[in-house]
Symmetry: C2
């Protein structure tokens, strides 16, 4: 986020299609709201009156402030008051090119949120030139509203005749209730489509009528209107533009809106009507399936077996380990009722399964011959977080695997902790092309109840924040000791058979969070960018250069060649799709780009003649014509290059943002420049808390989506050789002046 202190409201203007608001901090937005509240109330009151005069008494729902379609939808779905399904209605205001002296006549376009609005086509239809999105000032002048409060209800008897009103014809076909801002970004009115149209028609006069336009067909009609196929460069330029419609906001400017928009536009995820829960659609779930397939095979090689433990945990069992449960209890969801009966005692839904599983480990492990016991499960767990949810990163239910193993010796447990961590590193680096740094957590940050925690730490360059990738814990004998679960065997090395050993345990987990990290690291302003190894579609083949003048024979030849190409690649094990839909190439390019497909192959009449195809890489946009001869091997190599290049680029970025810092005064400025600082640290818990506090005070206001403003320790990297050697007794901790022990990564984090 931009680190401009003291701002209240700032809008950044994009000439393309949208007004973008920077996300407001909570306190500042409430100031804005209270100062405008009165005028809005009276405005809404008069709207309510005119609705009532039409016998319309719609539902009004108050909710948290919203600044994007995603946050709006989220606010409504989490509200208990609104309908279960609805459709968001957006209101865009355009200003046509007008002589400076003339009063502008704004064009108000009312459309379903999902509709792409082609202002060029609208302008053409209305005979208006050069429609551009109106500035914030113009919105204030005309409607006394900002863009997040704008709504069709802002049109009233006073202003209706001063604007041109365009209504997307498809609104009439919507049967769900329509959500309209109640002249406020934190209140919504629900109206049926016929009621909305009735409201608008009621404003019509002899000279001011609404224009119903079929925006969907306007848009697809536009390219067809051109008599000649547009030259390649021009087409590409057009896509540049439409792509920004898609994601809506720039990654560097409003990262959290960008993130949710990418997820929605790439069809990875949808919001769900239980707050903090999300639907994983096939486009993201397939990534999880790829990770599962790979990781599952690897752990089976290590002798791990899959099993399934129930999702329910009795309170007695859950609360057995004190430190452990303290870490989880505020987030535990409790089942207290079944049908109409109250349960005798509440039953928890597992937040993790240590205490649920280990009573059975105690039962099953009777001899050293039963060791090692290595079980894993692929399941979901529930942590009812009350902080702001964020798809993949912080959700109330999430999918993961949890491995739980028991060993005879600490040495054996130690080895496994690192074997698993290495697999986690490979999931990130080799599958997702996301660089991570393996290390150990500080005492403060380790798993509640464990002995030590190892981690692979990732980094989100756009925000400069660290993110925990996955953790592999050694629990030591903490859960196996006599007063806990008492998991004990005879020591096989003891000739007297008297000595007992309480087993050494590990637990380790990797969750769907990995998908969120991958999106954040690789995505760009065109949308998602998928590494080939986890893409469910690695290559899309698009027929090009087909126009109204193209003969049927040529058309079917081109489409046939695309189909043939796809078949060839499929045979070679490449995940490929030939996109023969009845859509323009531009539409398809955009569609697959925002979904992140790693490689596009185009075949047009020219390519066909030369027996070649144009390859376009999603990661860097590089185009190159290649021969169809031996194409499977060419494409395989290209995909390999894409995978490697994506990783290398991300790794270079991460490494360039890991800053060795030895003076306290450099810590906060270095963090503020979106870096992770690496300190020669004393490893004292008190010092860690102090660092967190001092770095928080000094920094920008908290971003509510990324809650930790103070820097915490991320990891003590295993590979210390990267930094200047620490001289025992000489090198001092820059935070407290005590002797430094190891280089430790500190950063703001997710």
């Amino acid at each position: 986020m931009l680190s401009t202190a003291g701002r209240l409201t700032r809008f950044v203007y994009f000439p393309h299609r949208h007004l973008i608001s920077l996300s407001l901090t909570r306190s500042s937005s409430s100031i804005v709201q209270s100062s405008r509240l009165l005028s809005r109330c009276s405005a809404m009151e008069s709207v309510t009156k005119s609705l009532a005069s039409l016998s319309l008494h719609p539902t009004l729902v108050n909710h948290t402030g919203t600044n994007s379609p995603a946050t709006w939808r989220d606010a409504l779905t989490t509200s208990a008051d609104g309908p279960d399904s609805f459709e968001l209605i957006k209101t865009l205001v355009y200003k046509p090119k007008t002589a400076k002296t003339a009063t502008p006549v704004p064009v108000v376009v009312i459309a379903r949120e999902a509709a792409s609005v082609n202002s060029g086509a609208i302008g053409k239809n209305l005979n208006l030139k050069d429609l551009r999105l109106a500035s914030e000032d113009l919105l204030k002048d005309f409607f006394s509203l900002d863009k997040d409060s704008l709504s069709p209800l802002a049109l009233n008897e006073t202003n209706f005749s001063k604007v041109v009103t365009v209504v997307d014809a498809s609104i009439a076909t919507i049967s769900n209730p329509l959500a309209l801002h109640a002249l406020s970004s934190s209140a919504t009115v629900f109206l049926s489509s016929s009621d909305l149209l009735q409201y608008l028609r009621n404003l019509e006069t002899e000279n001011a009528k609404i224009h119903e336009l079929d925006l969907q067909n306007l848009e697809t009609a536009a390219p067809a209107a051109t008599s000649k196929p547009p030259p390649k460069q021009k087409e590409d330029a057009r896509i540049e533009g439409s792509v920004q419609i898609a994601v809506g906001v720039k990654k560097e400017v409003d990262f959290s809106t960008w993130y949710t928009n990418v997820l929605l536009k790439a069809d990875m995820l949808d919001y769900y009507n239980v707050s903090g829960c999300y639907i994983l659609k096939p486009w993201s779930y397939s990534i999880w399936e790829e990770i599962q397939k790979w990781f599952d095979a690897e752990i089976k090689e290590l002798g791990v077996q899959n099993s399934y433990f129930p999702m329910f945990v009795s309170s007695k069992v859950l609360e057995r380990e004190k430190d452990h449960i303290e870490g989880f209890s505020p987030e535990v969801a409790w089942v207290t009722k079944a049908g109409n009966s109250d349960l005798e005692e509440p039953i928890a839904i597992r937040p993790t399964s240590e205490t649920a599983m280990y009573p059975y480990y105690a039962k099953w492990i009777k001899s050293h011959r039963d060791l090692p016991l290595k079980l894993n499960q692929w399941n979901s767990v529930v942590r009812w977080e009350f902080k702001n949810p964020q798809p993949f990163l912080r959700t109330r239910e999430f999918l993961w695997q949890e491995g739980h193993t028991a060993h005879l010796t600490k040495e054996e447990a130690d080895v496994e902790v690192r074997q698993i961590l290495e697999l986690y590193r490979r999931v990130y680096e080799e599958l997702l092309a996301v660089p991570v740094i393996p290390g150990i957590k500080s005492e403060k940050e380790k798993f509640a109840g464990g002995l030590y925690t190892t981690t692979v730490e990732g980094f989100i360059p756009t925000t400069g924040r660290g993110i925990q990738g996955a953790t592999s814990h050694c629990l030591g004998q903490n859960f196996s000791r006599p007063e806990m679960f008492n998991i004990v065997v005879e020591d096989p090395t003891d000739p007297t058979n008297q000595r007992k050993i309480h087993v050494w345990q590990n637990s380790w987990g990797l969750s769907t969070r990995v998908i969120g990290v991958m999106v954040m690291v690789h995505g760009d302003n065109q949308g998602l960018v998928l590494p080939p190894r986890v893409a469910s579609v690695q290559v899309v083949v698009v027929p090009c250069g087909i126009t109204v003048n193209t003969s049927n024979e040529t058309r079917s030849k081109i489409e046939g060649a695309c189909d043939e190409l796809a078949k060839t690649l499929k045979k070679a094990g490449i995940k490929v799709k030939a996109d023969l839909r009845d859509k323009t190439p531009g539409y398809k390019f955009n569609d697959w780009e925002q979904k992140g497909v790693p490689l596009r192959l185009e075949i047009g009449p020219n390519d066909l003649a030369k027996q070649q195809t144009l390859t376009v890489r999603r990661d860097n946009g590089v185009k190159s014509a290649v021969a169809l001869d031996n194409i499977a091997s060419t494409v395989s190599q290209l995909l390999e290059s894409v995978q490697n290049d994506m990783f290398k680029r991300a790794q270079e970025t991460f490494h360039s943002r890991l800053k060795e810092v030895t003076k306290w005064e450099d810590v906060v400025p270095t963090l503020d420049s979106k870096n992770v600082v690496v300190l020669p640290w004393c490893e004292r818990e008190a010092c860690e808390e102090d660092i967190k506090e001092r770095s928080a005070k000094a920094s920008e206001p908290t971003d509510e989506r990324a809650p930790s403003a103070g820097a915490k320790s991320l990891a003590i990297p295993f590979d210390q050789s990267r930094w200047t050697a620490i001289e025992p007794g000489k090198t001092k901790c820059p935070a407290c002046g005590n002797d430094a022990k190891r280089w430790t990564m500190f950063g703001r984090s997710y």
Copy 2:
């Protein structure tokens, strides 16, 4: 179950190791209890007193009556009062061979439940001949108790000197609390092992001491005592015996105890401390993984994609469809609390996902181009049944897949319903070797809220009951209609673009129930029998004929050959394990037999000389020596034969028990002979209810584990050609005399 009306308590004596009680009906067992209650109370009172005199004040837990280790453990784990982990202690009473005139001195053996008790070895140690399990009469004479109430606490100052008391030495090593029957099968006392030993030692006199014996080592020592390796036949005979120790009861005699014992002994499952929930251990979970792998690939071929919807459903959404929710609401588990906060409104855990998913289908399906939409998820669902739980068949949480698809036309939906049903048939018949009959459900038995339900119906020959295998539903337009979820598109065939189509929907599910059905159909008195296609170990290789006289060289040659053989088979894709543990061959045979491994290969010195291996089939016990040359192909063929033979045998049984019945008076006797009746049925709901009522009244008392005593319609088979053609207007329904429509399977069921 045996259909002897009016019995109160009957015990069947097995000469092997155990007393078996037939399961009692609830009413009859309560009569027994009340008549004995007083004497037991006072007996327990005096035990409590003598415990108190030793300063022991143990926990006493009352629970439901138990008649097997499995039901006992279940009763304790579901009770809120006992400790979370404990170990069951069994008390066996043997009678040595005594002259008829002499007073017998019974041997009371106190051991951990899991211990195998070798009475021969105990007798040898105590110098007593021919120990046989004592009769029920002897138990009553000495202790005034039946075997399900017996406990070390039955020993008191009066009777201690009249018996020989043996205590398994390993009890002293148990750190968990010990569960002991409180002289009642419906009450349990918990004592530590040292307290139990203190209690027993307190009874000792100069002439009557307890005998501490290491039962585990007695047992393994026994074969080693033989100086020569036992000849093959003798070894097999010994296994016959030990196998019955393992499963404990005969499938034909006490089916429900047999079933849970097989699951426990095969290491498929363990009881869990939340009632109605079970742990799926790797030996059963791997079967589910095989089914997932196969089915998942097949549905992906049909264009189905995987996704994940949250486990939570808001009450508003859940209750949207009236018929549907009526079918599920009594079993819905509700989350009402998170951490310490009460939720604003309770949230359900999905019992199935129709109403959770379809609001989003309405949102995603905007055009006929979005159809068909075919999503599936692999997840768990919760149905909080209050009936008796039964592993795999009726559990409060279970794993399944649920497919949910939307189509433009009924024809397309109809086709898919059958495609999926065919896949379900293949899961049962081709993977699990379990025959099923595909058909359609009656109106009464169809899915709540759907249009029609198709099913594959299985059959459990031992009980003569039908069992629903998996169902594929056509929901029609019931969930898509305007007043429901309103999932609507424009009719693409309508030139005016005015006509709307509400989509046609299907849903279909297959659960871990399949595993239970497979166990019930194929298991035998040696334990589990696995079909090769779902076995995680298809072949086990066991070195044989190694004795104390075997040279180290020969031993390592034999073990090397086993290892080599396993490697050869593994290379050929066969799932194989060489069992080189330091255990006797007999132990290993028994172990793998009760776990159901389809094929055992033995290599001894002779086999090595002849370059052969002895193959032993688990399904039919057939042995045959085959050359090691070309062994992979021989074994593959053998496994194929096992798979096919298992299916054929089960199919012949099922078909022989499908009885065409045309007269009402034949219905109940045919059901009572453990058949499914096939009636030319009128298909009227009133008639179905009548059949159920009349067949229930006429039949044996209800078995609480198999709750439906009346016959219900199982399915109307698609293939009607098996039975005499129905003549419209002439063939009458044998239940009501109305015109018959189709042949319909009726039966008692799970």
